[in-house]
């Protein structure tokens, strides 16, 4: 059966045309395809949020939906809107700053390190469970479930081919090619 190569390979043309990709740098050319490299890291240089808040958010995002095959750039893109939104929305900014600060206080007390610096994933996830009902956690999870999984590049990494009408559907492209039963 026709299976999907889940490693991310996009043609240079499609890559350059796609809006979300412009923020990301173009890395090494592998086998004729361009591989996405991490973008100039937003989390390291936010304009409106504190660097601590940004790096905490990024680690939280990874821990909420941990896909080892996805590098940070996908998560940065998924939370990328908050920095600009924070400039317009003081409540959001406060929720993010206060919520991440509280998490870091908790992390220091429990593990002697800021959240993003705790090595052990189980320790971090334990802290997330403690704050599961807070507005920040709920908002982040609810936003991420759309902003992470609605990225075309993520679809490919999960083996989903996306739009098919422009390619004539799957009638000649494997709608019934399952052969292992």
């Amino acid at each position: 059966m026709r299976t999907i190569d889940k490693r991310l390979r996009v043609s240079r043309r499609r890559f350059l045309a796609s809006g979300t990709a412009t923020a990301a740098g173009v890395g090494a050319v592998a086998g004729g395809a361009v591989v996405i490299a991490p973008a100039g890291s937003w989390a390291e240089s936010p304009a409106n949020l504190s660097p601590e808040a940004a790096s905490t958010l990024l680690k939280m995002a990874r821990d909420i939906f941990p896909h080892d095959a996805l590098d940070d750039s996908y998560y940065q893109r998924a939370i990328g809107g908050y920095d600009a939104e924070a400039a317009e929305d003081a409540d959001l900014k406060a929720m993010i700053e206060d919520g991440t600060a509280a998490l870091n206080t908790r992390a220091q007390a429990r593990h002697g390190a800021a959240y993003a610096d705790i090595e052990n994933e189980d320790d971090r996830v334990g802290l997330l469970h403690e704050i599961e009902t807070t507005p920040l956690f709920r908002k982040l999870r609810a936003d991420l479930v759309v902003s992470l999984y609605n990225q075309t590049e993520v679809w490919q990494r999960l083996g989903y081919e996306g739009p098919s009408a422009d390619q004539g559907g799957y009638i000649n492209r494997g709608f019934d090619d399952l052969d292992w039963l």
């Binding site: 081919e161 996306g162 739009p163 004539g168 559907g169 019934d176």
Partner: protein, 523 residues
């Protein structure tokens, strides 16, 4: 006179909504030469506007006006502002529907007699039998081009179907096939055959799937007797001092209120908006809302017992390729109270894309297990469970005391509690669904809770006696002879089957009745 019709033309039939019920009724009336105006709240998006993208299409054509939820159902917790997934556009929810088109079983029209008194359930027999409906089911299936009927071949099975069928066979089930689908398996009715695009829920780009948008509505318009006014949301139904309805007030595309006169008004806004409109039309003469002498308007809201089972296999399935729902197991659809519940359920293939899978697989879920499931998206197969739920008087649409919509009208609150029968049926269906996939070799199965309701039924139900329901066997309200209900709100009980074929069947029959009554001078 030919369309378009004047606002003060009181000879027209006005239909509220252009979906399965309203769109079909409009065409059927127009074919008889009856001048008809359909007022549709949503815009007109033709096939070229459809995109193969779940969130984008959802945002473009869903009904997103203010709604609230209450009750103990899981949807109220997971999706408090979105009790139902309904389309607001010309064509209504037939733009997004999957096409599964099943007839009710004979005993399902006699639920009260067959099931007996079920505690807490407001069961009632339909004032109709399967026999009476059969000729109209025939016409509906022919109109919609339903596969597996009238000599129309079934669709080929896709990968998702293959997995389900293999499990069904190994489990000893015998009634499984690729369904009765209103999707062309071969060119028919001027439309091509299914290209297995796989975005049936986002609008069929090939037009192979029946939708009133590009069948009934243009066919009706071609007669010159049907006018469809899009972006016109009906706010209120007017009546005179004899208690007959005289027309409707609606907000046009610019938000300006207009009044369309009418000889007959037919309400087909789907089972949340239809009762809401009757309730919002309360007057001094009808203080509890129109056609509500029984107190049943808005009550007995049904949404089918639903749930989904997804299963991960060690090899790829790629379930998203091809038709979304062309696969069914019907071995559990019969009545067998020995299973611990009355009524039956269907098991139907279902696939969601990555964006919707993330949102619906385990609402609120996160962490390693969740990510593992998503990492195995291409190794997943899926099915939807849909069965008869019990009508309960307290499951109902009411007008919210504070929340208002964009027109300043009270928003509908959708209250629902699962009945014990629903809960027992869901448990049985989840177990059987898992067993099917385990028989096919699943590594892991997931029991996904109900999505926002796609099948909304029963809120203006049909009854023999006026005190038991809102409309008679023709969908005509017991209280007001020239006011009809023309959608799934009429359902006395829900049956196990996806409802749209029955909605279309009732609309065809209702159109005949209205034509006859008009000719006889009674309307």
């Amino acid at each position: 006179m030919a369309a378009p019709f004047a606002l003060d033309d009181d000879s027209v039939v006005v239909i509220v909504g252009s979906g399965a019920g309203g769109g079909t009724l409009g065409n059927e009336l127009a074919q008889q030469g009856i001048d008809t105006v359909i007022l549709e709240a949503g815009g007109r998006h033709e096939i070229a506007d459809f995109v193969n993208n779940e969130w984008e299409m959802f945002g473009k054509i869903s009904w997103l006006d203010a709604r609230t939820t209450s009750g103990s159902w899981r949807v109220a917790h997971d999706f408090p502002g979105l009790p139902a997934w309904i389309v607001k556009a010309v064509g209504g929810s037939t733009v997004h529907w999957a096409g599964a088109s099943l007839r009710f079983q004979a005993h399902e029209f006699r639920a009260r007699s067959e099931y007996g008194a079920v505690h807490g359930a407001n069961l009632l027999d339909w004032p109709l039998t399967l026999e009476e409906l059969e000729p109209y089911y025939d016409r509906a299936e022919d109109k919609m081009g339903v596969t597996g009927t009238h000599g129309i071949p079934r669709l080929p099975g896709n990968n998702n179907y293959k997995v389900m069928a293999a499990g069904a066979e190994r489990l000893g089930y015998t009634k499984y096939h690729t369904g009765n689908m209103a999707i062309n398996s071969q060119p028919r009715d001027g439309r091509g055959s299914c290209l297995q695009i796989g975005f049936c829920f986002q609008g069929c780009r090939s037009g192979a799937k029946w939708s009133t948008l590009y069948t009934e509505i243009p066919n009706g318009e071609d007669t010159g007797h049907l006018e469809v006014r899009s972006q016109c949301q009906v706010l209120q139904i007017d009546h005179d001092d004899t208690g007959r309805v005289t027309g409707v007030v609606y907000a046009d595309a610019d938000g300006v209120q207009q009044r369309q006169k009418a000889r007959v008004v037919c309400v087909a806004g789907n089972s949340i908006e239809s009762p809401r409109l009757l309730l919002n039309s309360a007057s001094a003469m009808f203080p509890d809302g129109l056609a509500n002498s029984s107190g049943q308007v808005g009550r007995n809201y049904m949404r089918h017992m639903t749930g989904s089972v997804y299963a991960v296999f060690d090899k790829p399935v790629n379930m998203y390729r091809g038709t979304t729902m062309a696969g069914i197991i019907q071995d559990e659809a019969h009545l067998d109270p020995a299973r611990g519940f009355v009524g039956g359920y269907e098991m139907e293939t279902l696939s969601l894309g990555v964006p919707f899978m993330a949102a619906f697989l385990d609402p609120g879920g996160w962490g390693r297990d969740f990510a593992w499931a998503m990492d195995h998206y291409d190794h997943m197969a899926g099915m939807w469970l849909v069965g008869e739920d019990m009508p309960q008087e307290t499951n109902r649409i009411t007008l919210h005391p504070e929340v208002k919509d964009q027109h300043g009208l009270p928003a509908p609150d959708v209250h629902f509690d699962d009945h014990q029968n629903d809960i027992r049926m869901r448990a049985h269906a989840f177990a059987q669904g898992s067993a099917v996939y385990e028989a096919a070799g699943a590594l892991k199965t997931y029991h996904t809770p109900p999505y926002p309701s796609t099948h909304n039924l029963g809120t203006c139900r049909m009854s023999e006696r006026p005190e038991d329901g809102v409309v008679n066997k023709w969908g005509q309200t017991h209280d007001i002879p020239n006011l009809f209900v023309s959608d799934g709100s009429q359902f006395t009980t829900g049956g196990a089957e996806n409802p749209t074929l029955t909605i279309v069947t009732l609309a065809i029959r209702q159109a005949e009745h209205i034509g006859r009554e008009m000719a006889a001078g009674n309307l």
